[in-house]
C-alpha cells in the first residue's frame, strides 16, 4: 500500500511528540497510526472536509471580535494512556482542593497570612480580590464549582501546570461536540479503542450546582447566566443550558426583589436559586462593580450575601487565577493538604522580588513574560521572538509595575500529529482538563480540551490566535468495566415485532397483472370515468399516481 505520504516528512521532532518516539510510533497510538495510513491521504482529507462542514451546519462556533467562526477541529485525535490520565486526574483534583482551601482562607480567617505562606499584599493587591465578598460563606462551602487547569507536556513528556482557571473557564462544550463529531468522522478508528466517555459532564455540573443551592431549598431552580449572543463563548453557554435542561438567561431576564433574584417569565416573576454565571465579576453587578455594565443584575451580590442565591463560580475567585499566586500553589498544596504537589508548576520568577527581577531583566530575550491578570494569551511577550524595541518597552512596563508580571523559561510544548496543507505534521498542543467540585468530590472529565497551534512552530494555542482543537481520547484501563467506554452496552437479543405495511406494498412491487390493470385505468381516467373504488383497491405505483394527477389536471385546466 503506497499511502504513507500522509506521514512523509513528519521527521524527528525536537521536543516531545505525543505519537512518535524518534521514528517509532508509541504503543497507545499504533492503531490510530495504522488506520490513518490505511485510509490514505485522499480519504483523510475527505473526512476532514465533512467534519468541517458538519461544524458549520451545527453552528459550532466561537466569536472573534463579534464575528462567528467555526471552531476548527483537527481530524487526528490526541490519545492519553490510562496511567498518564490517572496522574493528571489526581493532580488536578489536588490542585482544585488546595485552591478551594486557599480561597476560603483568603476571604475568611486569613491564617495563611499569619503563617506567612503567601504575603497578604500579594492577595489583596490583585485586581480580582473583591473585599465585598469577604466573609461570605458559600452554601456548601464550594467556591470553585468548575475549574479548568491548563497543562502542557515538557521536553520529557511530563505534564506541567501552566495556569489555573477558577473564574469562568470555557471550552468544555467543544470537548463534548468534538467527541460526537470525531466519532462520526472516524467510526472505525473509534471502535478500535476503549475511550472513556465525556458526555456525562453536564449531569455532574447540574448535580454540583443543585448541591450548592441555598439552605432550605429542596428543588432549586438553576440557570446559566450569559452576557449574550455576542460573547465569544455563547455557543458553550447554550450547550450547557440545553444539556442541563435549564434556562439560559441574560442579565435583563433577571431582577432582584427584596434580596431575592427572580426571572421574568410569561407567567410573571419566578425565583432563581443557583446562577451558573458566565459573566466576569466586573460586569456582574453594576451596584458593586462597574456601574456602566448592562450585562449584569443590579443587587445580585446582596442577594448572594443574604444567602438567597448561590453564584457559581463564586465572586472573587480571580485571585486564585492571578499568575503571581500561581507561583505559590505548590506551597498552598503543602500547607493545606500536607501533600507534595502531584503536577509540577513551570518555573516562575516573581518580578516583585528584587533579586528575581534583576535576573529576569538581564535575560529578557530568553524568557517568556506574562502579565499576571491576563487571560487568553493576552499581553504575553516571548523573549526570543521579540524585537529589541519590544523588549525595551517591556522593560519599561516591568519597572513601572513589577507586581503585574511574571517570567517563565521558554518551554517547548509537546507536539501531536495534525492535518495541515502538506499532510500530517507535528503541531504544538496543550491540554485543559475540566473539573467539577460538588462539595463532596472533585470530578475530572476524562480528557479535556486539547488546543493545537496550527501555524508551524507557533507556541500560543488560543483560538483567538488561529488555534484549533483536537478530540482527546483517554484510554480506558484494562480493568475498567465495559460500560465505562463510549460503547453501546451489549444488549441481549429481543424478539422483533414485524412492521406493518400498507395494502399491497410488497417489496417486489405490484405484480404484472395489477400494473396492466392500472395502465388500462390510466386510459380510462383521461376519459373521465374513474370510480373511487378502483383507486382504493389498486396499489398505486408512483408511475400511475403521476399519470393520475396529470390526467386530472389536464381535465380541469
Amino acid at each position: 500500500m503506497n499511502t504513507s505520504e500522509l506521514f512523509d516528512g513528519y521527521g524527528p521532532v525536537a521536543g516531545f511528540d505525543e505519537m512518535f518516539e524518534g521514528t517509532e510510533v508509541r504503543p497507545g497510538y499504533r492503531q490510530v497510526h495504522t488506520s490513518f495510513e490505511k485510509m490514505g491521504a485522499d480519504e483523510v482529507r475527505l473526512r476532514a472536509d465533512s467534519l468541517a462542514s458538519s461544524y458549520l451546519e451545527q453552528g459550532v462556533t466561537f466569536g472573534v471580535e463579534g464575528e462567528e467562526r467555526p471552531f476548527p477541529l483537527d481530524i487526528v485525535p490526541r490519545l492519553i494512556e490510562a496511567q498518564d490520565w490517572d496522574h493528571v486526574e489526581r493532580g488536578v483534583r489536588q490542585r482544585v482542593l488546595a485552591l478551594e482551601a486557599f480561597l476560603a482562607d483568603a476571604y475568611g480567617p486569613g491564617e495563611l497570612f499569619a503563617d506567612r505562606v503567601v504575603p497578604r499584599n500579594t492577595v489583596v493587591t490583585s485586581p480580582h480580590y473583591h473585599r465585598v465578598v469577604a466573609g461570605l460563606e458559600p452554601a456548601n462551602g464550594v467556591r470553585v464549582h468548575v475549574a479548568g487547569v491548563d497543562l502542557i507536556r515538557d521536553g520529557h513528556g511530563d505534564f506541567r501546570v501552566l495556569e489555573d482557571n477558577v473564574r469562568v473557564p470555557s471550552g468544555v462544550s467543544y470537548v463534548m461536540t468534538n467527541r460526537r463529531a470525531l466519532s462520526a468522522a472516524l467510526p472505525e478508528v473509534f471502535a478500535d479503542h476503549r475511550i472513556r466517555p465525556v458526555s456525562q459532564y453536564s449531569q455532574h455540573l447540574l448535580s454540583a450546582l443543585r448541591k450548592a443551592a441555598p439552605a432550605g431549598v429542596s428543588d432549586p431552580t438553576v440557570v446559566v447566566l450569559t452576557p449574550g449572543v455576542y460573547n465569544s463563548a455563547y455557543f458553550e453557554h447554550t450547550l450547557l443550558a440545553r444539556t442541563m435542561g435549564v434556562e439560559l438567561v441574560e442579565g435583563r431576564d433577571l431582577v432582584c426583589r427584596s434580596g431575592r433574584v427572580m426571572m421574568r417569565t410569561t407567567q410573571g416573576l419566578e425565583p432563581v436559586h443557583v446562577i451558573y454565571r458566565r459573566i466576569d465579576d466586573d460586569f456582574l453587578d453594576p451596584v458593586q462593580f462597574r456601574s456602566d455594565s448592562t450585562l449584569g443584575v443590579p443587587g445580585i451580590i446582596n442577594a448572594a450575601r443574604a444567602g438567597h442565591v448561590t453564584i457559581a463560580n463564586a465572586v472573587g475567585n480571580g485571585v486564585a487565577d492571578d499568575k503571581l499566586l500561581y507561583s505559590y500553589v505548590p506551597d498552598l498544596i503543602r500547607y493545606y493538604l500536607s501533600e507534595e504537589p502531584i503536577l509540577r508548576n513551570v518555573d516562575t520568577w516573581r518580578l516583585g522580588e528584587a533579586d528575581q527581577r534583576e535576573e529576569v531583566l538581564d535575560r529578557l530575550d530568553e524568557l517568556v513574560l506574562k502579565p499576571v491578570d491576563g487571560s487568553g494569551g493576552k499581553g504575553i511577550v516571548i523573549g526570543p521572538a521579540a524585537s529589541p524595541d519590544e523588549l525595551a518597552e517591556l522593560r519599561g512596563k516591568i519597572l513601572a509595575d513589577p507586581r503585574a508580571w511574571i517570567a517563565q523559561p521558554v518551554i517547548s510544548l509537546s507536539t501531536n500529529p495534525t492535518l495541515v496543507e502538506d499532510g500530517i505534521r507535528p503541531r504544538h498542543v496543550d491540554l485543559r482538563p475540566f473539573a467539577v467540585h460538588d462539595g463532596d468530590d472533585v470530578f475530572v472529565l476524562p480528557g479535556g480540551l486539547t488546543r493545537v497551534a496550527l501555524p508551524e512552530g507557533e507556541l500560543i494555542v488560543n483560538s483567538s490566535r488561529g488555534g484549533g482543537s483536537k478530540d482527546t481520547w483517554v484510554l480506558a484501563r484494562a480493568s475498567d468495566p465495559d460500560d465505562e467506554g463510549d460503547m453501546a452496552p451489549t444488549a441481549s437479543p429481543v424478539a422483533g415485532v414485524a412492521q406493518s405495511a400498507g395494502p399491497a406494498f410488497d417489496s417486489q412491487g405490484p405484480d404484472l397483472h395489477v400494473q396492466e390493470q392500472e395502465q388500462q385505468q390510466q386510459q380510462t381516467v383521461s376519459t373521465g370515468s374513474l370510480s373511487t373504488g378502483s383507486l382504493s383497491t389498486g396499489s398505486l405505483s408512483t408511475g400511475s399516481r403521476g399519470g393520475l394527477s396529470t390526467g386530472s389536471r389536464s381535465d380541469a385546466c
Binding site: L239, R242, R252, T294
Partner: protein
C-alpha cells in the same frame, strides 16, 4: 418560560412563515408576468410592492427589482433573505430551547442563501418552500407541546393569516384572473384540494372563498386564525367562564367570525380593502401578545461594544 425566549420562538414562527409565503407570492407574480399577455409589468410590480408594504424604492419597478427587494437583498427588511436571517438570529437567542435538529436545519438554510441566490427564480422559491417545510416538519416531530411550541405556532399562524391576506390581494389585483387564481392556488399547494372540494368547477370567487374560508385546508385564513386562537387558548392557563380577557384572542376571534358570518359577496366585493383590514387585526393581535407576554423582556437592551 422566559419572556425573551417566548418572544424568540414567536418570531421564529413568524419569520419562517414569512419567508415561505413571500416565496409563494413571488412565484405567483413571476408566473403571471410570464403567462399573462395583458399584464403591464410596471403596474403589477408597483401593486405587489405596495401590498408588501414597500414604499421607498428608486426607479421604475420591474421583475428584477422585485426579486432584489423581496427575495435576495438581506438589507431589504421584507426580503426572504432578511426573514431567514432574522429567523436564524432569533434561533441563536433561543438555542438552548430548540432541538439541535431544528437549529441545524435553520442554520443550514441560512447558510444556503448565497447558493440560492444563483438559482433560477422558480427553483429558488421551491427551495425556500422545501426548506421551511422541512423545518416545520422537524419542529412538529421534535418539539414538546409546551408553551414554547404554542408561541411558535402562534407566530406562525398570525403570520400566515397576514401573508395569505397579501397573497389574496395580489391575486385580486392581477389583471388576468384566469391565470392569477389557479396560480395562486398552486402556490399555496391548494390546487388539488380545491379541485376536489369544488369538483373541478372553478371560478375566482370560489378560489377566494377556498383560501379565505375553508375550514379543512391548513393554509386558509380561517384555519390559520383558528390555529392562532387555539395557541392562545393553550397559553391561557385558566379558562374563562365568559368573554376574553386576552386582547389578542378577542381581536383574532372577531376577525374570524367576521369572515365566517358575513356574506361572501360582501367580502370579495373589495377584497384588497378587506385584506388590509385583516392585516391590521394581525398587527394589533401581535402587539397585544407582546404587551401581555413579552413586555417584561424589553426593559433594557444590549449595549454594543462591551467585550468580556
Amino acid at each position: 418560560m422566559l419572556s425573551r425566549i417566548a418572544e424568540s420562538l414567536f418570531w421564529i414562527g413568524r419569520y419562517l412563515e414569512r419567508a415561505d409565503d413571500t416565496a409563494r407570492i413571488l412565484d405567483v407574480q413571476m408566473q403571471v408576468l410570464v403567462e399573462d399577455p395583458g399584464m403591464d409589468e410596471r403596474t403589477s410590480c408597483e401593486q405587489l410592492l405596495s401590498v408588501m408594504g414597500v414604499e421607498d424604492y428608486t426607479g421604475l419597478p420591474n421583475r428584477w427589482m422585485l426579486l432584489d427587494l423581496l427575495a435576495h437583498n438581506p438589507d431589504s427588511p421584507v426580503s426572504i433573505a432578511a426573514a431567514i436571517g432574522a429567523a436564524r438570529e432569533s434561533s441563536r437567542r433561543a438555542r438552548e430551547t430548540l432541538s439541535t435538529d431544528i437549529w441545524a436545519a435553520i442554520n443550514t438554510t441560512w447558510r444556503g442563501l448565497s447558493t440560492a441566490r444563483a438559482m433560477r427564480p422558480p427553483d429558488m422559491f421551491s427551495w425556500v418552500r422545501n426548506r421551511t417545510a422541512m423545518i416545520s416538519g422537524i419542529a412538529d416531530s421534535t418539539m414538546s407541546r409546551d408553551d414554547g411550541w404554542h408561541f411558535y405556532m402562534l407566530g406562525r399562524s398570525i403570520e400566515r393569516v397576514d401573508m395569505t391576506a397579501r397573497l389574496l390581494s395580489t391575486a385580486a389585483l392581477a389583471s388576468g384572473p384566469q391565470v392569477a387564481w389557479p396560480t395562486t392556488l398552486r402556490a399555496c399547494g391548494a390546487y388539488e384540494s380545491f379541485i376536489r372540494a369544488y369538483r373541478g368547477i372553478d371560478s375566482d370567487r370560489q378560489a377566494a372563498e377556498f383560501l379565505l374560508l375553508d375550514r379543512w385546508f391548513p393554509r386558509s385564513i380561517v384555519s390559520s386564525l383558528a390555529e392562532a386562537e387555539r395557541a392562545l387558548n393553550n397559553l391561557e392557563s385558566a379558562g374563562q367562564r365568559s368573554g376574553f380577557s386576552d386582547e389578542a384572542q378577542r381581536l383574532l376571534g372577531r376577525a374570524r367570525t367576521e369572515l365566517e358570518y358575513r356574506p361572501l359577496a360582501e367580502i370579495v366585493f373589495d377584497l384588497p380593502v378587506e385584506m388590509e383590514r385583516l392585516q391590521r387585526s394581525c398587527a394589533a393581535a401581535s402587539d397585544a401578545v407582546s404587551a401581555r407576554y413579552f413586555a417584561e423582556s424589553e426593559t433594557h437592551t444590549w449595549r454594543g461594544g462591551v467585550v468580556l
